[in-house]
Chain length 92, copies 2
């Protein structure tokens, strides 16, 4: 919904790509994600909101915790963008 531009923008930051990488393994809470970085929790929260806006991740509250998960279909969509781009079919 946010468009390919929001997706590329979201992917342009190494911290956010690292978050996506972590979520390949399993769903994680915002706190578990934050613990892997030397960055404040509010900053990680901000990165998560950018990833969420680009629909690269999904969030679901479970009690006190909010679990984040990877939205694989959007990653496949971006890969499709590249595939289409390379063989000239894609309109980006």
């Amino acid at each position: 919904m946010a468009g390919i531009n929001a997706t590329f923008q979201a992917l342009s930051d190494p911290t956010r790509r690292e978050i996506l990488r972590m979520l390949r393994e399993k769903d994680l809470t915002a706190g578990e994600i934050a613990d892997h970085f030397h960055i404040s929790r509010p900053s990680i929260s901000h990165h998560l909101s950018i990833l969420k806006n680009a629909t690269l991740v999904l969030d679901e509250r479970k009690g006190q915790f909010i679990y984040y998960s990877l939205n694989t279909s959007v990653l496949e969509e971006v890969m499709g963008w590249f595939a289409g781009f390379i063989d000239k079919g894609g309109d980006s």
Copy 2:
């Protein structure tokens, strides 16, 4: 050589993605590229240098002109990054 981060960074700007799209058709001079945008020539030159640094484009001087061309292999590399990412093989 500049790494995956420079590549994602380069791809995060819509003007630069549009430049890449133009170069799918055929090689173009900096001036021809600039003519397609309402942006000054120095700004386009700056975008081109970012794309060049990410090795997404190649440049070759021919007389007064500098021709830019798409470096498809790097685009394929990025696509491979996604493919590897999705099936958990990739270390980004």
